[in-house]
Amino acid sequence: MSALRPPAAEDTKAEACHLRLYVAGESPKSLRALANLKRLCDEHLDSDYEIDVVDLLEHPRLAAGDEIIAIPTLVRRLPKPMPKIIGDLSDPERVIVGLQLLSKDG
């Protein structure tokens, strides 16, 4: 799976990757999603990435901006455009394809 290199990869390589994970408190799904995401990023991204976690229980108004209804939802803020990934990110291949993540060794 580390060999995944989507064709669009070259364009996005230069930009910093900014990910936002929407969660609701410390629910098991939310915690699992965060752990899974960190692991994926470590495995597949250069150090040039940023994850911010938005707890909608604390900031409910932020849900409207990215049209969040499902929890957890991962949004790639930069580079754009991109699909949203919902779920606890327990299926890493779909996350990698969905986010068009670069592999570290690529």
């Binding site: 929407y22 609701a24 629910s27 799904k29 699992r32 999603a33 899974n36 909608l56 229980l57 409910p60 108004r61 849900a63 409207a64 049209e67 969040i68 209804i69 499902a70 929890i71 957890p72 939802t73 991109m82 699909p83 949203k84 990934i85 919902i86 779920g87 606890d88 990110l89 327990s90 299926d91 890493p92 779909r94 996350v95 394809v97 969905g98």
Partner: protein, 514 residues
């Protein structure tokens, strides 16, 4: 229970469930007081049946009439679309929003931009909904429509269990909610949601029969409450949704003892000497050219003379034509039009279809508040629908007018069998039935008028000659005993009586007088 409910004076005396009145005309009657308070009601039906509108009106009436703020969650339409769509019904959503009584929450779901990876739930939707409820302190919530969630998420099982959780959650929040769903083939909703919403399910329908489309509403289930089980027609008119139960409205109106003149002294005499009862329904039926419209116009004229407003629905003639024709019997209707006491509404019923026609008539009656209304002729309505539908619609129209205490006069052209049937069906609704006929006798054709029925009053049993003259309309006195003299025979009789210096014998008709 937090709110102590006074025992409803319903015959069952078991009205224990707290209800939230919708404020939607007719719906509260059908549901026995409104939707279950603090619970969710599923409103389902096919596309275009009026689900969204019903939901919006539920919120708007809640704000306006009951001081209950609301939240509208739309998956399909944007905030701007919603505001624009209901503006024509007089609902100013943006004002309610600005006043902090309404929250419009558009939730965009684009399934093409979503990738699934692992377990998820709809907590985000709950949080948004919760925030919106808190923002306006909402007591009412509408979610339109849940089918969009199934379309957006391929994982139907999760959506289903999340929706079940949502219904519980809404109940815990204590809001009265309407959830809308698309009707699927075989089931009431495409995904069987009705199984989860166990408290109240309302089914909307939109059927076309004989080229006339009718919207219908049915309360499929209402736990803990009695409710009307029929399908009730409902309209979307200028002022929103109106559910029209045929049976419940008409029999609760007040009965007035006040009498109204028909504008012809001798006709009033035939009706117990004082004319018809206010708020009654009058049918003037007869063959072509017998002067039905003239009787109707005279009735309007009499009302305007008393300073009351009259509304004349003409299905065959234009306003100018009626005014001109009535001038030939020295009835000056234009003066009443100019003074705002008389209004004409001329339209062919086939133009709109029955329901729309009824709705536009009701809107006008509500707006103009006339004391009398004329429908001339109702037989024309048959061109706009099947006779069963026409009589159902007339029933509703009669009910509608009676409840408002409006006196209604209908004319009907008796010609074919189909009409006889329709007349028979509406006869039960009619309080006073005048029959005008054209009788051929002695080489003349003369008009004759009789009272077929007049509820609650003594009335003449005689057939009188009915005269349209350049001085106005009149009903001739009775001459002779045992037979009705009309035309030249009557003139001859009158002349011979005058020569005897005899007075006209005007028999004030009661059944006992002959």
């Amino acid at each position: 229970m937090a709110t102590h409910t006074v025992q409803d004076p319903s015959p069952e005396g078991l009205e224990l469930l707290a209800k939230a009145a919708t404020g939607i005309q007719g719906l509260d009657q059908v549901t026995g007081g409104g939707l279950p308070r603090g619970r969710s009601t599923l409103v389902c039906g096919p596309a275009g049946c009026g689900k969204t509108l019903l939901g919006i009106e539920f919120l708007v009436r809640g704000i306006k009439d009951y001081g209950e703020p609301g939240v509208f969650v739309a998956f399909e339409e944007t905030r701007e679309d919603l505001i624009a769509n209901v503006a024509s019904l007089g609902f100013d959503l943006s004002r309610h929003e600005a006043d902090g009584e309404l929250a419009l929450e558009h939730v965009g779901i684009d399934s093409s931009k979503v990738v699934h990876s692992g377990e998820w739930d709809l907590e985000g939707l709950f949080i948004r909904l919760g925030a919106a409820i808190d923002a306006v302190d909402a007591k009412r919530v509408v979610i339109d429509t849940i089918e969009n969630l199934f379309a957006a998420f391929p994982d139907g099982a999760t959506v289903r269990s999340e929706l079940r959780r949502m219904f519980r959650w809404l109940k815990d929040r204590g809001v009265t909610a309407i959830i809308t769903g698309e009707r699927g083939s075989g089931a009431f909703t495409r995904h069987g949601i009705e199984e989860y919403v166990s408290d109240c399910v309302i089914v909307l329908d939109h059927r076309v029969s004989e080229e006339t489309s009718t919207r219908r509403l049915r309360v499929l289930k209402y736990r803990g409450s009695h409710h009307g089980t029929n399908e009730y027609p409902f309209l979307i008119g200028k002022s929103g949704v109106t559910v029209v139960p045929i049976t419940s409205l008409g029999l609760e109106h007040d009965a007035s003892g006040e009498r109204l003149s028909m504008g012809v002294d001798r006709l009033d005499e035939m009706l117990g000497g004082r004319g018809v009862l206010r708020g009654s329904s009058i049918l003037v039926s007869g063959t072509a050219g017998t002067g039905k419209s003239t009787v109707a116009a005279q009735f309007c004229d009499a009302a305007c003379r008393r300073g009351e407003r009259a509304l004349y629905f003409a299905f065959e003639e234009s306003e100018a034509q009626i005014v001109r024709n009535m001038a030939s019997v020295s009835m000056e209707l234009q003066q009443w039009v100019d003074r705002g006491l008389l209004r004409f509404k001329c339209a062919r019923p086939s133009l709109l279809g029955l329901e729309a026609h009824l709705s536009s008539m009701q809107d006008l009656v509500t707006e103009y508040e006339p004391s009398i209304v004329v429908l001339d002729p109702i037989s024309d309505l048959l061109t706009a629908g099947a006779s069963r539908d026409v009589s159902a619609m007339l029933t509703r129209q009669v009910d509608f007018l009676k409840v408002r205490g409006v006196t209604a006069l209908f004319t009907s052209l008796d010609q074919d069998l189909q009409l006889e049937e329709a007349n028979q069906q509406i006869a039960a609704l009619i309080d006073v039935w005048l029959l005008v006929t054209s009788q051929e006798h002695n080489g003349e054709r003369n008009r004759a008028l009789s009272v077929l029925k007049a509820r609650g009053m003594a009335h003449s049993n005689q057939v009188r000659e009915f005269l349209l003259t350049s001085q106005g309309i009149d009903v001739a006195g009775i001459h002779g005993v045992g037979k009705v003299l009309t035309g030249s025979a009557r003139v001859a009789q009158e002349a011979s009586r005058r020569s005897d210096a005899d007075e006209d014998v005007v028999a004030v008709g009661t059944r006992s007088s002959l």
